[in-house]
């Protein structure tokens, strides 16, 4: 027997592995552009949060029907991976249905189950395609959903349908070959769903059937390898990053804005509550570019599924303002990728930073200023992304470094400084309300 197919297979596997490794490394670098932040606390709570949100997809069930459909695709994906393991081992060893002899009866059941999921995946993907392209759900068509993000979403659905089709038709051809007693095709019988496809192949000659079966097999496995590479370039990275992303998400009440300890020090000195020391002042207050954000915020950006639930719930966006929390995440990711590409071209960090920045070139002041800090985006996100934390860090840059806050806010700042209230009332009038207590 010729070893050529096996050699070819291992070669394909290695090439795919190489590309995935390179790309993963790239994304790692992009995330590590962010500032360090250690998260070691509340481990069991984090684990629980991750299990519920990433594994159990709890928030997807905010819309139960979509939740179920998404779950089918996800479960199908997980379960079919077991089948991929067999395919890979078959490919390497040159065997066919390697697991069949060991599993006996159970093997058919297993394949039947895979087929059930394959059919489920096809049906849901078709519904999702219709929802996106025919029903045109607004959140899939808003401003930031330009060509690539829209194409990305559709491609993956078509891709999954094709993969599942080849899986099912491969089984159908296989069953016929078994019934004809062709050598190499292990007797495992026909399967629940693919048996209905058999009439399509029944009149084909054995040699063409073998050809089709092999073709489907190769297409299926190469497709999956291609898919694995593809997702690292796509919003579908969330199938992996949803896990760390939910694990590292903040467990604090959503209203709490993290304290800037570097500011506390200076304020305490100013109020005479602490002594000045000579530790260096921070490089920058707030965030102008991706390097001013922390790595969790950048991981957030790579985990974004571009689903737009955040934007669909954003009061600013709903009322026609430019702000879209999804765009904030997409911009952050795009800028981080650009940053690493330029680093790889040998540019110095300072040079990259001086040419462009996240705030200014990607995200505008108009967007940042429209946020009401209402947390609707944070609440809506199925994978615990926090667009608001990036918005707030940029606001800090605008206020404390650029000194570019809207005039009305400067007035508020002034009043706070002189009258300890956002309005210009004399502080001595603060208790005047008491006159109303005994007035009916």
């Amino acid at each position: 027997m010729s070893y050529l197919p096996q050699i070819l297979f291992v070669l394909c596997l290695s090439i795919a592995g190489f590309f995935i490794y390179k790309r993963v490394n790239f994304i790692r670098k992009a995330i590590l552009l962010g500032k360090k932040k250690s998260v070691n606390d509340r481990k069991s709570e984090r684990l629980r949060h991750m299990l519920l949100l990433a594994f159990g997809q709890k928030k997807m069930f905010d819309k139960p029907l979509v939740g179920v459909m998404h779950f089918i695709i996800y479960a199908g994906f997980l379960i079919i991976n077991i089948e991929v393991l067999e395919i890979v081992l078959d490919g390497i060893t040159g065997a066919h249905r390697l697991f069949a002899p060991y599993l006996g009866e159970a093997y058919s059941w297993l394949i039947n189950l895979f087929e059930l999921f394959a059919v489920g995946v096809i049906v849901t993907c078709v519904i999702f395609l219709i929802r996106r392209n025919v029903l045109k759900l607004p959140r899939f068509w808003s401003a930031e959903m330009k060509k690539w993000p829209r194409l990305d979403a559709n491609l993956i659905l078509i891709f999954e349908i094709t993969l599942m089709w080849f899986f099912l038709s491969m089984n159908a051809a296989d069953s016929i070959l078994q019934s004809r007693g062709v050598e190499h095709y292990v007797q495992v019988g026909s399967f629940w769903f693919s048996q209905w496809l058999q009439p399509l192949f029944a009149n084909m000659q054995t040699s063409s059937l073998v050809f089709y079966e092999r073709f489907a097999w190769w297409f299926h496995i190469l497709g999956i390898l291609g898919f694995a590479i593809y997702i690292t370039y796509s919003k579908h990275l969330h199938i992996a990053l949803a896990f760390p992303n939910t694990y590292f998400a903040s467990l604090e009440p959503k209203g709490k804005i993290p304290n800037m300890d570097e500011v506390t020090k200076e304020v305490k000195i100013a109020l005479g509550l602490a002594q000045a020391d000579d530790s260096p002042a921070p490089e920058r207050f707030g965030a102008k570019d991706v390097t001013d954000l922390n790595w969790i915020q950048l991981m957030n950006a790579f985990s974004c599924t571009e689903c737009g639930r955040c934007t669909a719930n954003c009061p600013a966006n709903i009322t026609g303002k430019k702000l879209s929390p999804r765009k904030i995440m997409m911009d952050t990711r795009d800028r981080a990728e650009e940053f690493v590409r330029q680093l790889e071209q040998g540019k110095a960090i300072e040079e990259i930073k001086s040419e462009k920045s996240l705030y200014g070139d990607y995200i505008t002041k108009e967007e940042i200023m429209a946020c009401t800090t209402c947390n609707a985006c944070v609440e809506a996100c199925p994978v615990s992304i926090n667009p608001l934390s990036i918005i707030l860090d940029i606001r800090r840059y605008v206020a404390m470094e650029a000194g570019d806050t809207p005039n009305e806010w400067n007035v508020v700042f002034n009043n706070l400084e002189t009258s300890m209230s956002p309005w210009k009332f004399p502080p001595t009038d603060r208790f005047n309300w008491v006159e109303l207590v005994n007035k009916d």
């Binding site: 009440p253 959503k254 209203g255 709490k256 804005i257 304290n259 800037m260 500011v263 506390t264 200076e266 304020v267 305490k268 100013a270 109020l271 509550l273 719930n313 009061p315 600013a316 709903i318 009322t319 026609g320 303002k321 430019k322 702000l323 108009e366 200023m369 429209a370 009401t372 800090t373 209402c374 947390n375 609707a376 609440e379 809506a380 707030l392 606001r395 800090r396 840059y397 206020a399 404390m400 806050t405 809207p406 806010w409 007035v411 508020v412 700042f413 706070l416 400084e417 209230s421 956002p422 309005w423 001595t428 603060r430 208790f431 005047n432 309300w433 008491v434 109303l436 207590v437 005994n438």
Partner: protein, 263 residues
């Protein structure tokens, strides 16, 4: 008329060698906004009625710093926060109630990092406790019995701190007919004032946020809209005026409903 209500300040109590059960944090809107000053007074009446020994800071209170922090001015926020904490700690304050969800959030969640650790509750939580424990009794067949009321979740009580049920239970205890808006609880829509938006014109868009929200409230055909936040109260009231409905639909703070319904 019964004896006038005395609202003591912490300074006065300390001078008498006493300390209050709870400090009422009034907030800037509660101190200066004409409409919310009435809510402040109402809450004092309720506290007095149930015999809770409370005190206020009076002129010693400063803005919590919430708008400064959310507008990005961390220095100014911490200036306000640290001097407030100095005052509160000097009086040995343990428990605080406030009628402003922004103050509530800042005092409860943000002051601990700067050395201010207090038990902080929002007035809607206190009202629920008082009604549940029977300390505050609601009249049978009060003015809101059977009335259609819709409740607006403020972002800083709701999503920011996950308090959704206490205010609803209070409304139910008034025998009112609580009708929910399409977007409520976790998905409640902001009134448009948070994040220091209260103090500036909105960015360009199709509509103001409070109009979007009031339209949704009007869909429930309410007899009154209930809020729990001074800024929501302003925004919603403006929305109702914009729709020229101010004669038929009132916007109340929850404390006002309770005061009108108590025995």
């Amino acid at each position: 008329m019964s004896e006038p209500i005395k609202v003591p300040t912490l300074a006065e109590l300390q001078a008498q060698g006493e300390s209050p059960e709870i400090v009422f944090w009034v907030g800037c809107a509660g101190s200066f906004d004409e409409r919310y000053k009435k809510v402040t007074a109402t809450l004092c009446k309720i506290l007095h009625k149930v015999g809770i020994k409370f005190a206020v800071l009076g002129t010693e209170e400063n803005c919590t710093g919430d708008p400064a922090r959310r507008a990005g001015n961390e220095f100014l926020f911490q200036m306000q926060a640290i001097s407030n904490i100095e005052t509160l700690n000097m009086y040995g304050v343990k428990k605080i109630v406030t009628a402003c969800p922004h103050c509530f959030n800042t005092l409860k969640n943000e002051y601990p990092d700067l050395g201010g650790n207090y038990e902080v509750i929002h007035h809607t939580q206190l009202l629920q406790e008082l009604i549940d424990s029977g300390k505050l009794r609601i009249k049978e067949g009060g003015p809101f019995k059977g009335k259609r009321l819709t409740y607006h979740d403020s972002c800083y009580l709701g999503r920011a701190n996950d308090v959704y049920e206490a205010p609803r239970q209070v409304i139910e205890s008034l025998d009112a007919d609580l009708v929910e808006m399409k977007r409520s609880r976790r998905f409640g829509l902001c009134c448009g004032a948070g994040g220091a938006q209260m103090f500036k014109e909105p960015e360009e868009g199709k509509k103001d946020i409070n109009i979007e929200r009031i339209e949704e409230a009007l869909e429930t055909q309410p007899e009154a809209v209930v809020a729990n936040c001074p800024f929501c109260l302003v925004m919603l009231t403006d929305g109702v005026k914009n729709k020229e409905k101010e004669d038929s639909i009132k916007v109340y703070d929850l404390a006002e409903l309770v005061w009108m319904s108590q025995e």
